[in-house]
């Protein structure tokens, strides 16, 4: 069995082995192997190519951009997604605009350990995918499975554009697979994680598993829910979503991030504008509450969507 976290480590090991242009840079990623051990052993295995950085997110990302200009393919680890706010300017104004302005590609991968875990609190739990998706020039990946964690990270390194790789900390240890995948769905294609005819849940990352659990529960009552894993939220595979809604006529978008302008808003806006006629009922969305992510599990459990709250929404949708 291999975990989501091990898959991320394995992908980085393969990227380093396959491509001399790849290096890893970030806080404590070297000998220590990273705060989550996502780079464990890599500094030893690839001497001089896995470097500890100072606590300087702006410079970490700025330097990766400079290295990319020179033809390298850096993988940057932010210790937590939440700290990428400090490197925000380099990401959205330097990395995201480089190719458009100068025709020089910016193949950097920025790994963001994202999402909530029990007791992590307001500054170690954030889901920042929507922020980065709003800016032109960035690819935003949100893998929900061990297989995608591996193959999408490899693809992130191969892509000639800056990729924001939102890996979910909750899945690091919880999620296991038999083996690493040998082939992969290309970036930009969503995956139908579960087929169904009665309603479509569109989601991504950790919420995929809450959604699947919810679909399972309602299946016992005879409801067949289709669950779509977006995989990457930019590009966002509108076609697959529309095709599913065409089959089910009902849409529930679920995300762990904040509501305003999040993935669920974009998904519903696209379906409403491009597939209005396909909807047999008002689309619905479910997100985290519009407050910082609370520290205590009692609050955190209510702050983000769960299989239970998704089921409540889905029942409303099905009876609409």
């Amino acid at each position: 069995m291999i975990t989501y976290l091990e898959a991320i480590r394995a992908a980085q090991a393969k990227a380093l082995a396959d491509d001399p242009r790849v290096y890893i840079y970030g806080q404590d990623v070297g000998q220590f192997g990273g705060a989550f051990k996502a780079t464990k052993g890599l500094a030893k295995e690839f001497p001089g190519r896995v470097l500890d950085s100072p606590i300087s997110e702006d410079a970490i990302i700025g330097s990766a951009i400079g290295a990319a200009i020179e033809g390298m393919r850096p993988i940057i680890e932010m210790q937590f997604a939440d700290f990428s706010t400090v490197g925000f300017n380099q990401i959205v104004n330097q990395a995201a605009t480089l190719h458009w302005r100068t025709q020089v590609p910016c193949p950097i991968t920025i790994r963001l350990p994202s999402g909530g875990t029990a007791g992590a609190g307001p500054f170690h739990s954030q889901s920042m995918e929507a922020l980065y998706a709003h800016y032109p020039g960035l690819i935003v990946m949100t893998p929900a499975t061990v297989e995608d964690a591996y193959s999408m990270l490899l693809e992130a390194v191969a892509i000639d554009d800056p990729v924001i790789f939102c890996e979910h900390k909750y899945l690091y240890y919880h999620l296991k697979a038999e083996a690493l995948p040998t082939e992969a769905v290309p970036t930009g294609k969503a995956r139908i994680a579960r087929q169904g005819r009665d309603a479509t849940i569109v989601t991504y990352s950790a919420m995929l598993h809450e959604s699947l659990a919810c679909a399972e529960e309602l299946a016992s009552e005879g409801w067949e829910t289709e669950v779509i894993d977006l995989r990457s939220i930019k590009p966002l595979d509108t076609d697959t979503v529309l095709a599913s809604v065409a089959r089910t006529g009902r849409l529930l978008a679920v995300g762990e991030a904040w509501p305003w302008g999040g993935v669920t808003a974009e998904v519903i806006a696209r379906v409403a504008t491009e597939g209005f006629g396909l909807l047999d009922a008002p689309p619905m969305r479910l997100n985290a509450k519009d407050t910082p992510v609370p520290y205590h599990p009692n609050l955190w459990g209510t702050h983000r969507p769960t299989a239970k709250t998704i089921a409540v929404a889905l029942r409303r949708l099905l009876s609409a």
Binding site: P54, I55, F83, G121, P122, F123, N287, D290, T291, P297
Partner: protein, 343 residues
């Protein structure tokens, strides 16, 4: 840049050094005992989330808290249990925040070291390193606007945090405004696992002072006496219009970065150097050497403190946890402007 040693006697008459030393020792011991209890609760699964301790840094932290007075401002960081207590934070604020009590200052919304009472001068750190420095600068600016001179703001940072843009912008702003700000850098030789050799290239962090046009002080962070002297002097020169003061203390953290971490990356040789000394043990032996206390008194103190800690924990354990149903789930002070669409 003044060396601590040079002034141990020089300024010993300014205030009652012995009284301060004794008081600081008590806070250090209380912090040490409290943190050991917190660690035990963590291992017992009674605490969710991270636990970050200040073992080995109590002398510097306590000296910072003691050098400040009521009306001053303090922005502690993750290794400041001792300084928090010395500044006036109650033990209950600590246990309640770690255990998520609804009655704590953070009400279960934030946890562990992310606590404070900003209106009482105790800033509640956000995680982003360096970010509290400009906040304290702004608070001091506010005092100036209101003509309330004489207050000092102290900010704790680690060696790693000196690499942040926030450190630079904040210290520079404080220097331009010549604010009464004392920046206390605990150089414990590592930022999580990262040694200072990967963090900065200057000979000594205190060399940064001149580049900001602020005063610099170096101190042995394992020596409570030296810490008391240097922090006292730094705080008083800030208070008397000397502008920002950069204090750099050398020491080692004697625990992991957090309780999840065994600190296996720390160079064993370093532990053998004077940096690896336990400031609490050193303080205790000096107390005895100077005959400021005898063994039985210390024994008594130890027991009183143990009891105090047990009581705080027991109280906290009886208290209500946060309840999602009574939460307002509104981020704003002006509740009229809250909206809950799409949740």
């Amino acid at each position: 840049m003044v060396q601590a040693a040079a002034v141990l006697t020089a300024s010993a008459d300014i205030y009652d050094f012995k009284a301060n030393f004794l008081a600081a020792y008590r806070w250090m011991l209380l912090a040490r005992v409290a943190e050991e209890k917190i660690a035990a609760l963590y291992r017992g699964g009674k605490i969710t989330g991270g636990v970050f301790l200040g073992k080995g840094q109590e002398a510097l932290s306590a000296a910072t808290g003691i050098a400040l007075r009521k009306g001053d401002i303090f922005a502690p960081l993750i290794r400041d249990q001792a300084g928090r207590l010395a500044f006036g934070e109650t033990l209950l604020d600590c246990t309640r925040t770690y255990m998520g009590s609804r009655l704590g200052p953070m009400r279960g919304r934030d946890g562990n070291v992310h606590r404070g009472r900003p209106r009482e001068g105790l800033m509640a750190m956000i995680s982003h390193l360096g970010a509290m420095l400009p906040v304290v600068a702004g608070a001091l600016l506010a005092r100036r606007f209101r003509g309330q001179e004489g207050a000092v703001g102290a900010v704790s940072l680690g060696d790693g945090a000196t690499s942040t843009g926030a450190f630079h912008e904040g210290l520079n702003l404080a220097a331009v405004e010549k604010l009464p700000l004392v920046l206390v850098v605990a150089n414990n030789q590592y930022a999580y696992s990262t040694p200072t050799s990967r963090q900065f290239a200057c000979e000594d962090l205190v060399d940064k002072a001149i580049g900001y046009g602020v005063a610099g002080h170096s101190v042995d962070g394992t020596d409570l006496g030296a810490c008391l002297e240097v922090l006292h002097r730094a705080v008083e020169s800030a208070r008397s219009g000397g502008g920002p003061q950069l204090v750099v203390a050398s020491l080692l953290r004697l625990v992991g970065h957090g309780e999840h971490d065994d600190a296996g990356y720390v160079d064993p040789k370093l532990r053998q150097t004077s940096l690896g000394a336990d400031c609490l043990e050193l303080a205790e032996s000096r107390l005895l050497r100077e005959r400021w206390a005898d063994a039985s008194e210390l024994q008594e103190l130890q027991e009183k403190i143990q009891q105090q800690v047990e009581e705080a924990v027991a109280t906290t354990l009886r208290e209500p946890l946060p309840d999602p149903n009574t939460e307002d789930w509104c981020s704003l002070a002006d509740q009229r402007l809250c909206e809950g669409h799409g949740e």
